[in-house]
């Protein structure tokens, strides 16, 4: 298994390289560079501007530029924001922490919902409970996230006033109060994200349970006299969870995508919100940095799901 994990991690590197190249090319295609803002400055002559370009290595061939860029990215240096005139990394750092909070909370909700719902509707398929759950998943598939999130915000935030309608924490708190306030701010956006994001996993789990139920080894278990609840807990569920681990990476990607809208709607100061803002004001260094980070998160999600699989499934051996 360790060998598998190590190999899996090694495979991750070409993925990262590929991602970085795409992002780099993207960055090159975007108009302007650090010096563009200087161009507006009447105190800087074109010669000086050229000098700065030279100093920054912007006249080097692309591969040297790429290597320089990768070098700085690895050190956490994404350049300067056009609009905020601070290093991109400073700008992102705070937002990233917020986004990770939101992402983790959403993931927890996703599985808190998906596991019981999927298992129930799979175990008692074609009953009322199953029909209700399946009905919910269809709605989840059909409803666009941003509309759903708006409705949630409107009802629970503005009408009922149960949850805050913006921000990530109340100011001036420390310790435990800080933590609870954070969670309180998180709940509504994370739930909105999870309620929609979970439906794929619910559906997946349901069909997996139904399929596993018919496997021959379940008959073997029943023939041993294993009581029905135990047939499910010991034999069916664990085998059905396997493919769920496989879609974990996919789930992470969906949540990242979803978080962009949700953060915007709930005025939650995360990376998603920053991403949309930066696109609007054409703050390209920030945009590229965020794309890069989202990509890394997706790759890590896939890595994690493979590692989980290799732990649960003894059959996995890399070829």
């Amino acid at each position: 298994m360790w060998k598998f994990i190590v190999r899996r991690i090694i495979i991750m590197f070409p993925q990262l390289v590929l991602l970085s190249m795409i992002v780099f090319i993207l960055a090159q295609l975007m108009p302007g560079d650090v010096t563009s803002s200087l161009a507006m400055d009447p105190n800087v002559s074109p010669e000086q501007q050229e000098q700065i370009r030279e100093d920054l290595g912007l006249n080097e061939p692309w591969h040297t530029q790429y290597l320089n860029w990768v070098g700085s990215v690895v050190q956490g240096d994404f350049g300067h924001s056009f609009t905020h005139s601070v290093p991109v990394s400073d700008l992102i750092w705070h937002r990233m922490v917020n986004s990770i909070w939101l992402g983790v909370a959403a993931l927890i909700f996703v599985y808190m919902l998906a596991l019981p719902l999927g298992l129930i509707s799979g175990r008692w398929n074609d009953t009322i409970a199953d029909r209700l759950i399946t009905g919910y998943t269809y709605i989840g598939f059909a409803a666009p996230l941003f509309i759903f999130a708006l409705v949630m915000l409107f009802i629970f935030g503005f009408q009922l006033g149960w949850f805050p309608t913006g921000g990530s924490v109340d100011p001036g708190l420390t310790g435990w109060d800080f933590f609870t306030s954070k969670v309180y701010h998180l709940l509504l956006p994370a739930l909105s994200l999870a309620l929609i994001g979970t439906v794929t996993t619910v559906q997946y789990l349901r069909s997996e349970v139904i399929e596993t139920k018919q496997k021959e080894f379940i008959s073997t278990a029943r023939a041993k006299g294993v009581p029905e609840p135990k047939v499910y807990t010991n034999h069916i569920f664990r085998n059905s969870l396997l493919p769920i681990a496989a879609v974990f990476g996919y789930e992470v990607t969906t949540l990242i995508g979803g978080s962009i809208f949700v953060e915007q709607i709930f005025s939650y100061p995360g990376m998603g919100q920053l991403f949309l803002e930066s696109i609007q004001v054409r703050d390209f260094p920030v945009v590229t940095a965020i794309v890069m980070l989202f990509g890394v998160a997706a790759i890590l999600g896939a890595l994690l799901s493979d590692i989980i699989m290799s732990i649960v499934d003894p059959r996995i051996r890399i070829k």
Binding site: D126, K215, E216, F217, S219, T220, A221, R222, A223, K224, G225, V226, P227, E228, N234, H235, R238, N239, L242, V312, D313, P314, R315
Partner: protein, 341 residues
Amino acid sequence: MSDRSLLEIDNVQTSFRVGDSYYAAVDGVSLNVERNEVLAIVGESGSGKSALAFSIMGLHNSHKTKIEGSIRLNGKDVNHLSTSELNKVRGKDMGMIFQEPLTALNPLKTIKDQITEALDLHTNFSAKQQNERALHLLNEVGIPRADKVMNQYPHELSGGMRQRVVIAIAISCDPSLLIADEPTTALDATIQSQILDLLNELKEEKDSGIILITHDLGVVAEMADRVAVMYAGQVVELADVMSLFKQPKHPYTRSLLSSVPSTQDEKDMLHVIQGVVPSLPKMPRTGCRFKARIPWMADDTHEENPELREVADGHYVRCTCYKHFYFPEEEAEKDVAAHRE
């Protein structure tokens, strides 16, 4: 009912739902198994052997299957037990060996866990005793390196080894009725004979009964006390093993016996029964079900609705016109012989 009687199946009908209707895969089967007896069930694939076995074990999906008739194990009707009551009987008083060794084991559990699970449910062994018993069982079914195999997963074992693990699970609590659905198909002749000896021993020691479902007529000849031949959901012939092999009556039994390749004779091509077993919805429900497979027999030689009748002591046949039956090859030979004369 004799006091040796272990299992009594009376007029069992197992129907599967296909679309909106139910079709009987087992159609009015009555059989009994005594203690210390091996009843073999043979028959073409799709004739309802496994469906019958699953009915006895209560393993069919109750939403899609109807089981009518009575199935009494030690006098107790197991067909009408609740699942929790049934679970006290399954694995303890009756065990089953499944047909498909490759898929009959949970891929995510070690061999040890899968064997001790049954022991945990039906005995009050300590964990250590369970392990010892599991190891002992693996040795008994002839698994080499049993101690290593205990910690392996099913995918790491060959088909035959998996089959032996399934057998070990089925006999782990010394059931009084053992249903063995193709127990040795995946095994080599040496292990097969070893397993059959083991089943025989178990049967004698514990005075238990065995239902042996198999395609291998050699195994039947060596193991069975009595044989039931099934065709299209019905028992078409039932006899003690000697009569069945020496004086087979039903055309289907006779066709079956002539299809076996043997280590002795040298014929190049084997006998094949024409046509196929009809699928459940297409099964003729009146008249003789085998008629279509012996098209050379004239229509007027068949009877309307053949019943299972006793033609000799303990020898039952669902057919009266078997006396006229012949194979086309025989007829050809007869012609040739007649011509010579």
